[in-house]
C-alpha cells in the first residue's frame, strides 16, 4: 500500500525544486479552461484566494461556504500578522531563514520541499495584498512596518493593527467578488458540503445542504478543492469560530483520502481563561502581544493565595517577587518562544500551584514595562483593539492591570495528506490551507497560517491543479444524475433521517461538551498511553450514546442550526478517536504533541527521530474497523536535525 503515498517531491537542489517543477507542470490552454469546472469548499484565505485566482485563469468555479457571506470565514479572526521573508528590516532574513525557522518551529515533522516553497512565495503574498489595497501598517516614511513573532529571531511579520486576518481576507474576498461579477465564479453561501462524490475513483462533485431551505443539492465538477479549515472544535472549547468544523475533510477521509498527523493540534498560550461552564468558546489574545508583554506568575505561593482571594492586585506584587518564567527558562527567546513551548510552560507553573485566578488556571501578561518605555499611546496604536476586546470581555483595563491568560486549542497542524501538488490520495481532490497537513509539522509558528493559506490559494494550487486538469478537458461536464451521485445523496439523506429520528434525551451541545472534556483531559496539552487508551474507549462509548440518545430539534426542510451542529458533531466524535489513536501511536514528544513518557529532565519535548521521523497517514477501513497506518518518511537533506533549543 506504500505506493499510495507518492509525495512527488521534485528532484534537484532545494532552492530550484519549485521553479523546475513549475516548468514541468502541464498547463491548460485558455479555450479549454473555459470548459472546465472546479468546486472550492470554503472561503477563508485559502478558499477565497484559490477561487479568485482560478476564476481569473478562466476556469468555471463554484465556491461554497457555510456562512451567510464568504467574508465571515474564520481566517478573519487572525489578529497578529503574516510572515514573509522580505528582509525589509535588513536583519539578515532570507527565504532560507524563514524555511529553517518553520521547520525547526514544527519540530522537524514537516516536509522540507513544501516548507521551502512556502517561504519562497511568501514575499509575493505581501506584494499581492498591497496591490489589492490591504492597509498594512506603515512607517512614517511610507514603508511597510514589521514586528516579531514567536519562534523567529528576525522581524518579518506584516500586520494591519490587530486585524490582519480580516484585512487579508477582505483582500481575497474582494478579488473573489470581482470574479463573481465577471461571471467566472458562482458563490453559494449558506451551503454545507455533506459528501464528496467519486466517479471511477476521482473527485467529481459534492452533495451539499442548502442551509436556508434544507434542500439536498448535487454539484458536479472536474476537480474539487477542499479549503475547509481545521478540526480544533473537536475540543468544544477552542478559539475556532462556533461553526468551524472538520466534516468536509472527514467525508473525504471516509471516501479514501488519507488523514495525516491528526494528533498535531496547537494549543495557543495567550487566550482569555475559561470563566465557567456556561462558556461557548475561548477568545484568543494575539501572539503579537508577546512582543511587548511579559509573562509572569508570583514567586511566592502566599501571593498566589492572596490574589485568588482578591486581597491584593497583581500591581501590588513587587518586581523581585515576580517569576518571569519564560525569560528565566528560555533566555535566548524569552517571551517569544514558540506557542507549544509557551503553553507547556504556563501549564507547568499552574500545575505547580502558581496559577493566578480563582480557578488556578491563568498567568499574567503584563504591559507595564512596555508602557513605561514607549508610553500608553504607542501601545494603544499597536494593540488598541485587542486591549479593548480584553476589557469588554473581562471588565479589566489592561493598561492598568496585567491581562490574565491561559492556553487553549487554536489550530490543527494535521489534516488531509497531500503530495507536493497539494493533491490528496484521491485524484482530482486537492486540500489547501489548514485543511491539509503539509507545512507546519508538530507546531505552527505564529503568523504562518495566513501565509500558508494565501500561498496555497494564490501561488501554488493555481499552477499544480492545471497538471491534473490538463487530463480532463476532453471529458464532458460531470453528469450529476450519475449513479454515484444517487448513492451519495441517498446516504446523506439516510444519515439526516437517522439523526432526526433518535429523539433522545441529550442535546447536541451536551454531548459535544462531554467530548470536549475527554479530549482536553486525555488528548490535550499532555498525553500518556494510559490516558489515550482510556480516551478511545470513552469516545466510542460517547459515540454510541450520541447515536442512541441525542435529540435534534426542528425539522430537515428548514433552516435548522441544531441539525447542522448534530451533523458536525457526528464527525467530531470520529475525528477525536483518530486523534487519540494517532497520539497513541506516536510514542515521542514533538511540537504540540507532548507524551509524558517522553520528556527531558527539564520537562522539554523529547523526540524519537529514529522511529518517528515520519508523517502518519491514516486510511479509513470502514465503520468500526481500525484505520490503517501508512508512513511517509521525512528526509531532511538541507537542514541539520537538532534538538529544538530556545534557551541559548
Amino acid at each position: 500500500m506504500a505506493e499510495k503515498l507518492i509525495s512527488k517531491i521534485p528532484e534537484g537542489p532545494l532552492s530550484e525544486k519549485w521553479t523546475k517543477h513549475k516548468s514541468q507542470l502541464r498547463v491548460v490552454n485558455p479555450g479549454n479552461k473555459r470548459k472546465l469546472e472546479i468546486i472550492v469548499i470554503g472561503t477563508g484565505l485559502g478558499g477565497a484566494s484559490a477561487a479568485a485566482s482560478l476564476g481569473e485563469l478562466g476556469y468555471n468555479v463554484k465556491v461554497f461556504c457555510i456562512s451567510d457571506s464568504p467574508r465571515r470565514a474564520h481566517s478573519i479572526a487572525a489578529q497578529g500578522g503574516i510572515n514573509a521573508a522580505k528582509n525589509y528590516q535588513n536583519d539578515n532574513d532570507s527565504v532560507y531563514r524563514l524555511f529553517y525557522e518553520t521547520i525547526k518551529g514544527g519540530d522537524y515533522r514537516s516536509r522540507e520541499a513544501n516548507v521551502y516553497r512556502l517561504a519562497e512565495v511568501s514575499g509575493n503574498i505581501i506584494d499581492q495584498c498591497v496591490a489589492q489595497g490591504v492597509p498594512f501598517a506603515r512607517e512614517y516614511g511610507g514603508m511597510l512596518a514589521n514586528r516579531s513573532f514567536g519562534g523567529a529571531q528576525v522581524s518579518r511579520t506584516f500586520y494591519a493593527r490587530g486585524q490582519t486576518g480580516q484585512q487579508l481576507l477582505l483582500g481575497a474576498y474582494a478579488a473573489l467578488n470581482r470574479q463573481i461579477a465577471e461571471g467566472t465564479v458562482k458563490s453559494y453561501p449558506r451551503h454545507e458540503m455533506l459528501d464528496i462524490v467519486l466517479i471511477n475513483g476521482e473527485a467529481k462533485g459534492i452533495i451539499a445542504r442548502n442551509l436556508v431551505t434544507g434542500e439536498i443539492e448535487r454539484f458536479g465538477a472536474h476537480a474539487v478543492v477542499l479549503a475547509s479549515g481545521g478540526y480544533g472544535n473537536t475540543y468544544f472549547l477552542s478559539t475556532n469560530a462556533m461553526n468551524s468544523n472538520g466534516s468536509a475533510a472527514w467525508q473525504c477521509y471516509k471516501k479514501g483520502a488519507f488523514f495525516a498527523n491528526p494528533c498535531f493540534a496547537q494549543i495557543h498560550p495567550t487566550c482569555i481563561p475559561v470563566h465557567g461552564d456556561q462558556q461557548s468558546k475561548l477568545t484568543l489574545m494575539s501572539e503579537s502581544l508577546r512582543n511587548d508583554g511579559r509573562i509572569w506568575v508570583p514567586k511566592k505561593k502566599e501571593d498566589v493565595m492572596k490574589l485568588r482571594r482578591h486581597e491584593i492586585k497583581a500591581t501590588d506584587i513587587p518586581e523581585e517577587d515576580r517569576d518571569y518564567y519564560l525569560e528565566r527558562r528560555y533566555p535566548a527567546f524569552g517571551n517569544l518562544v514558540p506557542r507549544d513551548v509557551a503553553s507547556r510552560a504556563a501549564k507547568e507553573r499552574c500545575d505547580a500551584g502558581y496559577g493566578v485566578n480563582e480557578t488556578g488556571l491563568a498567568v499574567f501578561l503584563d504591559f507595564s514595562s512596555a508602557i513605561a518605555r514607549l508610553g500608553e499611546d504607542k501601545i494603544r496604536e499597536r494593540y488598541g483593539n485587542l486591549f479593548q476586546m480584553y476589557e469588554k470581555i473581562t471588565a479589566v483595563n489592561p493598561y492598568k492591570e496585567p491581562m490574565m491568560i491561559y492556553p487553549a486549542i487554536h489550530y490543527t497542524m494535521g489534516g488531509l495528506w497531500v503530495d507536493y501538488n497539494l493533491q490528496t490520495t484521491i485524484p482530482g481532490l486537492y486540500a489547501i490551507g489548514e485543511a491539509n497537513f503539509s507545512d507546519h509539522g508538530g507546531n505552527r509558528l505564529g503568523a504562518s497560517a495566513l501565509m500558508q493559506g494565501l500561498a496555497d490559494g494564490y501561488f501554488i494550487l493555481p499552477y499544480t491543479i492545471g497538471d491534473y486538469l490538463a487530463t480532463q478537458f476532453k471529458n464532458p461536464k460531470t453528469d450529476t444524475s450519475a449513479p454515484e451521485f444517487d448513492a451519495a445523496e441517498k446516504a446523506v439523506r439516510a444519515k439526516i433521517d437517522r439523526l432526526m429520528s433518535i429523539k433522545g434525551k441529550h442535546t447536541v451541545d451536551e454531548i459535544h461538551k462531554k467530548l470536549g472534556h475527554i479530549m482536553w483531559e486525555y488528548v490535550g496539552m499532555a498525553r500518556n498511553e494510559e490516558g489515550l487508551k482510556k480516551a478511545i474507549g470513552l469516545i466510542q462509548d460517547l459515540r454510541k450514546e450520541f447515536w442512541s440518545d441525542v435529540y435534534v430539534a426542528g425539522d430537515t426542510d428548514n433552516f435548522n442550526q441544531e441539525l447542522e451542529k448534530a451533523l458536525r458533531l457526528s464527525d467530531f466524535l470520529e475525528i477525536g478517536e483518530l486523534m487519540a489513536r494517532d497520539a497513541l501511536n506516536r510514542k515521542e514528544s514533538c511540537g504540540g504533541h507532548f507524551r509524558e513518557e517522553m520528556q527531558t529532565e527539564d520537562g522539554e519535548t523529547l523526540r524519537d527521530d529514529k522511529n518517528f521521523m515520519y508523517v502518519a497517514a491514516w486510511e479509513y477501513k470502514g465503520e468500526n474497523e481500525e484505520p490503517e497506518l501508512h508512513k511517509e518518511q521525512l528526509k531532511y537533506e538541507n537542514i541539520k536535525i537538532a534538538t529544538r533549543n530556545y534557551k541559548d
Binding site: 464568504p70 499581492q128 462556533m242 470563566h275 465557567g276 471588565a395 430539534a553 428548514n558 441544531e562
Partner: protein, 259 residues
C-alpha cells in the same frame, strides 16, 4: 442573574412572526449575550423533548435561530437588535462581545432581528444580508489579478493615510448601520469601503467609478438614502465614522462631473 426575554419568532420569510416570552435563571454576569441565548436554547430543547411539558401546553417554537460564528467581534455574523439598539446597550461592541453584566438582575430584554427592507428575515433572528455581497461585487475591489504586481514597498503610503484607510477597512459588514438607520440606508457600509480604497494610491485610480457603481447598486437593492442623522456612526461596533461618507460623496460627485 435572572432575565425575562421577549424574542421575535418567525418560522420563515413568509411567516408573519410574533414575540414569545421566556425566562432564564442563574445566568453568570460574565456570560456573553449569545451564551445566555445558548442557555435559553438548551432549555427550550429540553422542554420540546419532554412530552409531558408539551401535553401541558408548552407552546415553544423550539430553539431560537440566530447568526453567530467567531464570537470575538470580528466576523460580523451576529446581528441582534436588543432593547431597541443594534448590538445592545454597550458601545463599540458586537452582540457576541456584549456581556450580561451590562444588564440588571430581573430585567426584561427585547430581542429582534435587524429590521430593514434590505435584509429579509430567514428565520427568527436570522436575516439575509446577501445584498452586502452584491454591493461589493458591483465595485468594492481594486481591479488587480493574482501575480504581476510591484514590490510592496514600491507603493509608498504615509503612516497617517494607511491608518485612515484602515479605519474604514475595519468595517465587519454586520449591517448594524442599516438596521439603525431610519431610512434603512447602507451609506456607512458603502462609504467605509469606497473611502478606504480611495485613500490609497492603488485604489484611487478607480475611485470615482467605484463610488458610482456601488451607490447605484445600493439604490437598486432597495436601501434608503442618507439624511445625515449619524445614527449609523453611533451604533457601528467598529467605530467607522461618517467622515467616510463625506469622502464617498466627494468621489461620487467627481464621478457625476465626469459624466
Amino acid at each position: 442573574m435572572d432575565f425575562t426575554l421577549r424574542i421575535w419568532r418567525q418560522k420563515n420569510a413568509k411567516d408573519k412572526g410574533h414575540f414569545e416570552t421566556y425566562s432564564v435563571k442563574n445566568i453568570s454576569p460574565d456570560s456573553s449575550f449569545l451564551e445566555m441565548l445558548d442557555i435559553l436554547n438548551e432549555q427550550l430543547i429540553h422542554e420540546g423533548m419532554d412530552p409531558v411539558a408539551v401535553e401541558r401546553g408548552c407552546q415553544s417554537s423550539g430553539p431560537v435561530s440566530f447568526d453567530h460564528d467567531c464570537r470575538e467581534g470580528i466576523c460580523g455574523a451576529c446581528s441582534l437588535y436588543i432593547n431597541g439598539r443594534a448590538h445592545g446597550p454597550d458601545d463599540e461592541v458586537t452582540t457576541c462581545q456584549l456581556h450580561m453584566r451590562k444588564f440588571h438582575d430581573g430585567d426584561t430584554i427585547t430581542v429582534e432581528p435587524w429590521r430593514s427592507k434590505g435584509f429579509p428575515v430567514i428565520k427568527d433572528l436570522v436575516v439575509d444580508r446577501r445584498a452586502f455581497d452584491k454591493i461589493l461585487q458591483a465595485g468594492g475591489f481594486i481591479s488587480v489579478g493574482t501575480g504581476g504586481v510591484p514590490d510592496g514597498n514600491a507603493i509608498l503610503i504615509s503612516h497617517e493615510t494607511a491608518e485612515e484607510s484602515m479605519d474604514g477597512a475595519a468595517c465587519i459588514g454586520c449591517g448594524a448601520c442599516v438596521a439603525t438607520c431610519k431610512n434603512g440606508s447602507a451609506m456607512l457600509f458603502v462609504a467605509a469601503r469606497v473611502s478606504s480604497l480611495a485613500l490609497l494610491p492603488q485604489g484611487k485610480i478607480e475611485g470615482a467609478k467605484r463610488a458610482k457603481a456601488m451607490v447605484a447598486k445600493m439604490d437598486e437593492l432597495g436601501f434608503g438614502s442618507c439624511t445625515n442623522t449619524r445614527a449609523c456612526e453611533m451604533e457601528c461596533p467598529k467605530h467607522v465614522t461618517v467622515s467616510h461618507i463625506a469622502r464617498l460623496n466627494r468621489e461620487f460627485l467627481s464621478a457625476k462631473f465626469k459624466d
